[in-house]
Symmetry: C2
Subunit: 436 residues, 2 copies
């Protein structure tokens, strides 16, 4: 069995093979959905009591009340203070760069006057309260804390509630330190669908939020789908993906390592490389072979590459770009000496890493742009997490007595066409100038 799939776009079954490679299966499970629906119903009905029951059962935490699951501010700041110098510097460097990028995304108010003296505009306000879900368990991802909390803080969100499961009572000090650094207001060691339900509906102890962001397992994803409408949610994250488009100018070892960096996340992660030169694809395959065994997470990488990885031979650059647009990858590396010349060919990608010196790994941590990106082809219609996700717009319409008159006849006519007489009359009342 080969290390990684080989495809070529001039093969008759290419579209079929590419589709099979990209297919993530049906992510939703009716069993999980039903179980999650029950958890949400219990938390809505019984609040803290249900939350305690599930947390004891699923996370094996002994505690008498939910308030004990809140991490005291002193512990958060203690975790930050206790970091070694290098770790603290890496966290602060990353947070600062994420903040700088986010600050440029902040939307502002604007308005203009039409020809009649009516004032029209857009008002932007932050969300009142946001919930950030941070995965716990085996791996600790402080970068995920920064990427979700920092833009919320930059947007001006009133209060940020973080939840992180602590199976057996264990929670990562790095995650707590990142929460303190990024500025989470309160942290609860809660997880799973029960944490999402508590954030959506509130309990006596956990305050209800307006939006829930952050990645989680299939139960968390199902819970987010189910509470959508009651609260806002960010996108449902699928397995992570990278696609490298290159003319063969990227050192094959660098290419292999960039593919490994994606594949090591988990076995469902996807690493693709597209190039028109079959000899280069051979060299990358050899580099994969040469470097794979030295990887600490070689087993995961091997499974990911064999099942979901691909070296794809395109006809030419235009064809390669078309394949990328078909994939709409979460991460795209344009590994060319002059990537700016290739960029106009790209329509869909969550984040685009330009040239040979912008590996996707920078984007995971400290490049500045958010690492929460649209997966599973959703870059066709959605965007990276950003400050915009923590603000909302209101339209503002301010007609003067004079200016309002200019809108009466069109409003009346449209209302008449739509058979809505009170609309017409409500508009017409403004036709006489000052109210009578």
């Amino acid at each position: 069995m080969s290390l990684i799939n080989r495809l070529a776009s001039d093969q008759a079954d290419f579209e079929q093979r590419l589709s099979a490679l990209l297919d993530r299966g049906d992510e939703q499970s009716r069993d999980i959905d039903a179980r999650v629906a029950e958890i949400i119903a219990q938390v809505r009905a019984r609040g803290d009591a249900a939350l305690l029951d599930y947390t004891r059962e699923l996370d094996q935490i002994r505690c008498g009340e939910v308030a004990e699951l809140e991490v005291p501010a002193t512990r958060l700041h203690g975790a930050l203070e206790a970091l070694d110098g290098e770790a603290r510097q890496a966290l602060e460097f990353s947070a600062q760069r994420i903040r700088e990028y986010a600050e440029r995304q902040r939307e502002g108010d604007w308005h203009y006057e039409d020809d009649y003296g009516n004032r029209l505009g857009q008002r932007v306000t932050p969300l009142d309260r946001v919930g950030v879900y941070v995965p716990g368990g085996r791996a600790a991802y402080p970068s995920s804390v920064l990427m979700n909390v920092v833009p919320a803080r930059v947007a001006g969100v009133g209060e940020i509630i973080m939840v992180v499961p602590a199976p057996g009572g264990v929670v990562s000090d790095m995650v707590l330190a990142a929460a303190a650094l990024a500025g989470a207001d309160r942290v609860f060691t809660l997880g799973g669908a029960q944490a999402v339900a508590a954030l959506a509906y509130g309990t006596d102890t956990v305050p209800p939020v307006d939006k829930i962001v952050g990645p989680g397992n299939a139960y968390v994803a199902s819970a987010k789908r189910q509470v959508f409408g009651q609260v806002g949610i960010d996108s449902i994250a699928g397995p992570s993906e990278v696609a490298v488009l290159t003319d063969g100018s990227l050192d094959p070892e660098w290419a292999a390592m960039d593919l490994f960096a994606q594949a090591e996340h988990d076995e469902m992660a996807q690493s693709l490389l597209v190039c028109s030169d079959p000899d280069y694809l051979d060299r990358v395959e050899k580099a994969i072979e040469a470097h794979l065994d030295g990887q600490p997470r070689a087993d995961i990488i091997r499974a990911s590459l064999a099942e979901r990885g691909g070296l794809i031979q395109s006809r030419d650059l235009a064809d390669g770009a078309a394949i990328i647009n078909r994939i709409a990858p979460e991460h795209l590396e344009l590994a060319f000496a002059d990537p700016e010349a290739v960029l106009p060919l790209i329509r869909h990608a969550g984040a685009i890493f330009m040239g040979h010196h912008s590996p996707e790994a920078f984007g995971d941590y400290c490049a500045g742009p958010n690492h929460v990106l649209p997966t599973a082809g959703t870059a066709r219609f959605s965007s990276p997490l950003g400050v915009q996700d923590f603000q909302k717009r209101s339209s503002v319409i301010h007609c003067s007595a004079h200016g309002g008159r200019a809108l009466v006849s069109a409003s009346e006519k449209m209302a008449e066409i739509e058979g809505l007489a009170a609309h017409a009359r409500s508009a017409a009342l403004r036709g006489g100038g000052e109210q009578g």
Copy 2:
């Protein structure tokens, strides 16, 4: 039975009564969801054949193939040409103002350089293809066509596919005229969950789109929820709502008519008015009584006001604003002589109509801002439909050989903390400058 509910915020059961009034019930029905899941599965599996079966059965249309359900461009333009002068003028006036507002929303690219010579930015691109669902049947809403199609066009969407059900083969010429004016590329007389499924997955005749927008009945709403992920969707629209906040300076007849204009949409529509002066609330109630019988849609208005309408007495202005923020209404009228002084108190509303001369009816048609707005309290976390809904952002990260080196050590350290060795190595390879 009184015409409209009366509440006062100083009553002990106020929060309970307000919650009951705002409660929309559980909008999702498991029966509808199951039926819709079957329709989607059939359209995915059998394409045009399933689409034809459902359209024949549910819309009583006789036709041999789906292509016959496409409205020819000549018919669209014929409908526009055939409009009488006043109707055409109203449509064009509205479309022009919606376009002007939308153009100010268009997001642009930006980038900046960090201290190390790395270039970071955001690239904005339009969606390739969008589907617009327009309700058919009893009522025709050309305004809805303009509000959904115009911002997509302004965003630069490649192709706009509109669907509108035509029960018994009948479709509104006004809707077709609006489609021609707004610039829909193709129009199919298809509706229901089957139209949503066809747009999401494509059939031989209906091309697959990247996002589906537009209001519909419970089947359409369920279908949009179920195809979310495969395509993007706008929000799920609930019943329309208005809240009027006033100091009593709005003529009670005008107030009554503004409430009627909301209530006449349907029996679930919600009309609320908040004021600290009980005498004023009495006067508005009298005006409702005086003018209701004259309304062509009096029965709908009566049912809506009795079931879901409310005149709410607040303690004072600050309390009134707090009630508004609790409601987070789709439409808010600030009926004050100086509404600018009140605006800072408002945190959540889809569209804000300022002063006495900005009735919500202007916003439905020709004020300029979009009439597709967050309902059911979702203005707490979501925004009016806009150009932003038809664009997506990609992050762009372009490190130079020199600048990239500045990101290596933080990336390595963070990757080490997260246990991701290939991430660390991928970053470290960029530490040596030019590739080897």
